[in-house]
Symmetry: C2
Subunit: 592 residues, 2 copies
């Protein structure tokens, strides 16, 4: 017996509290306090309001909320004393069907977890449409989270509680996030295509122009046709291009990539193809035409996995295809030209050069992408508006000091290469943090041939420095390199640095960024602006037209390039609605 | 036409300056200023006085001194415009006989060196008795020093200038450091015995009970007999034991080890056998008996190279031989028992246990050893008195954080394992330095599987912490481990630590240390007290009798466990005289 938002907004405080009964486990005070913020503009608004009550309640009440939850497959399940909601959820995850070994493992994890944290392990085990985490995935996540610091794990549990409540709210209001669920299902189907060697292990790997890659392209073509695109074709580099015609000649370009890293996630790139497809489906269903055409591209290559030709798909649209790539060979000795011929592509430079777009024919480029970072997840926000794709510089470095006896060399007479790098590492951390939105990383760090009793004479390391604008990045780089020199001078050691990568920043076009911001706010979702730390196809289009991106929250602290990459149908649904809002804004702004 | 110290002390200032002409290259002002300190007690005193003038002259005058030197095998040599002294020295080093390729290499090094430092490369190429560095060793040293920081290299050049002057002083006064030169020659001969695989490459490696090891033992026996020892024998573990009888029954024990590390130096250990042999030679030549016997032991095993049985030789004298060692196998599968049998030793526990000494029969133990560190070299001092052999603790550690995307993880949301270790590395450095004589080292440092664009999720490292006393060491360890925990708590990462070694400190016996101090001061050499960072046989004897050690300066910044390990006949000569002084003191203290 579903209720409606109007009904909730109109009810008395007691009636309204009654309507929201059973959302937060044994904790009706949360819904009750949130009701003070009525009227709610959307279910997202209601969910955010309740989450805000929890956030402001303080640690003691948060712990009480967590402790009100049952153990996973614990005594309460065995004793049939779970709440109706929990019984439903744990049952769907198949926890009642554990093997004795799985059950024993979970009991041990429950005991270890309680001893460490003092509250039960909470995981939103139910996915949309009855899908959800497998028992193996639940156990893996459990073991992983057991290693978290206490405070981080308390926050992680609260986020899972909010996710459980989100699903319960949907049930209560009888409103499934239908478009989000459809995209979710389509991405599940798309993930069935995987390269040999990975498919057998249930892992997702789709690299450029493999058979699985071609099958994925056909799937996307089919889904585009099914949604009502007017024209769908695979172009000369393997991009899947769908056009939904407008009443005017100019077009909005959108899309993202469908290739993956090895053993990657289902949402990286692909979400940015299927969210626009969902919008076209709704437009076509209504027979509605916008004053501009909508050109959706599934880029064939972005990750640079099979060939060193990162951003090949989007690069081809701006004339950035390097002719030398055709002769590049993969690990098996197959050239890109041969791979293209095998895939039925023309494999000629002429055909590839013809893909170059005339920027004048386009309004701009927008891209929806999973965040691939922890920010939105930790802030409990489903969407984020990208301010800029960070520019980056990478260096391969080595400090040379003097190896000497760890016992006989007094501290004041050392030329320790590793301590010099340690000093730099702390500087990088502090200097990047000072900007607020710069990042700096020493990802590789090694004393070659190091011994316990030898003062390090050499230390090899990498620097990865990124910032939302080129001047900000360059100032960061200059400060870090100057500090390295100062450390070396002071310590009597020497450093060599070799630049291995340099990429310009791609700030969002202010007008287009503003459109995303209005779209997010219209959904009742708090606005959060953030730079993109990773590179995206939008960086390429940035060179020829205005662009702006929308980020969608990733679960599991935003983990990406990993099978644990995940998002929810609710978040996807919000992304579809945000893109629709942007299209509507653009329609009002654009003369037909 | 040699001069005498008395002559120098009695001369007028001008006459004296004339007598010292030609010592410091084109820089008579140094000798002239040093003359103000007359009368000189010894040639060592004169040398120290001149070195002190240079040290106090300031950088400008030091640079002028360096620039007054010719290039090595440079234009001046080609043009025959060297000073007589330089011609003699460069000629002895065979530099006039360079191959065209060697000559070209040296010219390039000269050019690079001058461009980097602004003064010529200076190396004391002449050894005692016409020996000296080979051309290959000169070129290798040249290339290595080209990498030094400017200030360190200026100091290194000045030390070489002082060494050149030391040899010129000896020539001028017609006094060779005869006992030092004899020990030098004996150690050169002893170094002819080297294990297969190393001997062919001219490298010195003598591991426990190999044929080369047995040959070295026979050489030591022979040298002891030649010096006039009353009894010489090889004991059940391979120690070479020589006794020079006294008029009383009690004995002074001294000695060091004759085994080496792989590709090691000629002085490590062996110096401590041959310095006492030199003293016995002089006593025997005079037919003089001390009121105590002098028992000199060449310990067969200290380095733990062939078997994991470090300090086997000295350990056997205190009953510290582990019976399990007999069955331990080397890399070729030969057990220690088999190796003993092959060497003609009894290979029975009974025979080994019989080696245990009765401490009541001994006055104490003294050991002369090359420093194996940079302190004396950098301080321009030939001898140092050891205050304690440092106690040490080692740990194998790992910090676990959370690997994440280097682009998308904001600085404030990272759990970077490597930066946590970097913070600890700086703490270790500062905390050890605070004690003055503690040392702390992170010798192994590695981010396993690190990538440029991934925030390190793991970082492996070692800790090596040493101090002159156990309480000081334990306080250091406690502070470092507490800081590691504090860093982990603050950064949300975890650390595991595994103790892999723990050794007690062996402070010198105050009375015995004082004897060494008096001996050094009597030689006109400034007194410097210092802990020993490395372990020595004296640590073992420490468990049963009073002990104190004397350090002899190593050249090349004290490098050891390396073929570059080096000392001078002058320094060895001072060590012989210091030990003789200690014996004389002991003779006065000991009732016959």
């Amino acid at each position: 017996m579903a209720i409606t938002l109007d009904q909730l907004n109109a009810a008395s405080a007691d009636e309204a509290a009654q309507l929201l009964d059973g959302l937060y486990e044994h904790s009706p005070w949360i819904a009750r306090e949130a009701l003070a913020q009525r009227p709610f503009r959307s279910l997202a608004h209601l969910k955010q309001a309740m989450a805000a009550v929890v956030a402001q309640a303080g640690v003691e009440k948060q712990l009480a909320l967590l402790r009100a939850h049952p153990e996973l497959a614990g005594k309460a399940m065995v004793a049939n004393s779970l709440t109706a909601e929990s019984t439903h959820e744990q049952g769907k995850a198949g926890l009642a069907d554990c093997t004795p070994q799985e059950f024993a493992t979970i009991q041990q994890l429950n005991a270890d977890y309680n001893a460490r944290f003092g509250f039960p392990f909470i995981l939103a085990v139910r996915g949309p449409r009855g899908t959800g985490l497998s028992r193996a995935a639940i156990i893996e996540t459990f073991a992983r989270r057991l290693a978290n610091p206490v405070e981080a794990e308390r926050e992680e549990c609260l986020r899972n509680v909010h996710r459980v409540v989100e699903l319960r709210v949907n049930d209560k209001f009888g409103v499934a996030p239908a478009e989000g669920e459809q995209v979710w299902d389509q991405l599940e189907r798309l993930a069935q295509h995987s390269d040999p060697g990975f498919a057998e292990k249930g892992q997702l790997t789709v690299t450029y122009l493999t058979d699985a890659h071609r099958a994925a392209a056909r799937q996307i073509e089919q889904d585009m046709r099914g949604a009502g695109f007017d024209e769908v074709a695979v172009d000369a580099v393997g991009n899947v291009v769908g056009l939904y015609r407008g009443t005017g000649d100019r077009r909005l370009l959108t899309g993202s990539h469908y290739d993956t890293v090895r053993n990657g996630g289902k949402y990286d790139g692909r979400l940015g193809i299927y969210v626009p497809i969902a919008c076209v489906r709704a437009l076509a269903a209504q027979g509605r035409r916008l004053p501009f055409g909508l050109e959706v591209v599934g880029f064939a290559e972005e990750e640079g996995q099979r060939y060193k030709a990162t951003f090949l798909g989007s690069g081809a649209l701006i004339g950035g295809f390097d002719p030398a790539w055709l002769d590049q060979k993969d690990a098996d000795g197959t050239s890109m030209r041969e791979a293209m011929q095998h895939a039925g592509l023309p494999a000629t430079l002429e055909a590839i050069r013809a893909l170059r777009r005339d920027p004048a024919a386009y309004l701009g480029f927008v891209e929806v992408h999973i965040e691939q970072g922890p920010v939105l997840h930790e802030m409990d926000l489903p969407l984020g508006v990208v301010t800029s794709i960070n520019g980056g510089v990478r260096y391969l470095c080595e400090v040379t000091g003097m190896a000497s006896h760890a016992g006989t060399t007094p501290m004041g007479r050392r030329r320790d290469a590793a301590v010099a790098v340690a000093e730099l590492a702390l500087f990088v951390e502090q200097r990047a943090a000072r900007d607020g939105d710069s990042v700096g990383t020493i990802g590789i760090l090694n004393v070659p041939g190091g011994s316990t009793n030898v003062v390090p004479g050499r230390c090899q390391f990498t620097l990865d420095l990124r910032a939302p604008s080129d001047p900000q990045r360059d100032a960061l780089v200059a400060d870090v390199l100057a500090q390295l020199q100062a450390i070396c001078d002071r310590r009597g050691v020497r450093a060599s640095t070799e630049q291995t990568m340099r990429a310009a920043a791609a700030p969002s076009h202010p007008q287009w960024q503003a459109r995303w911001e209005r779209a997010v706010q219209a959904l009742g979702v708090p606005l959060h602006r953030m730079p993109s730390g990773a590179g995206h196809d939008a960086m390429k289009l940035h060179e020829v037209m205005p662009q702006a991106m929308l980020f969608v929250r990733g679960q599991n602290a935003g983990i990406s390039h990993n099978p644990l990459e995940s998002t929810t149908a609710d978040d996807i649904d919000l992304a579809v609605r945000a893109l629709r809002h942007l299209l509507d804004q653009l329609a009002s702004d654009t003369p037909a």
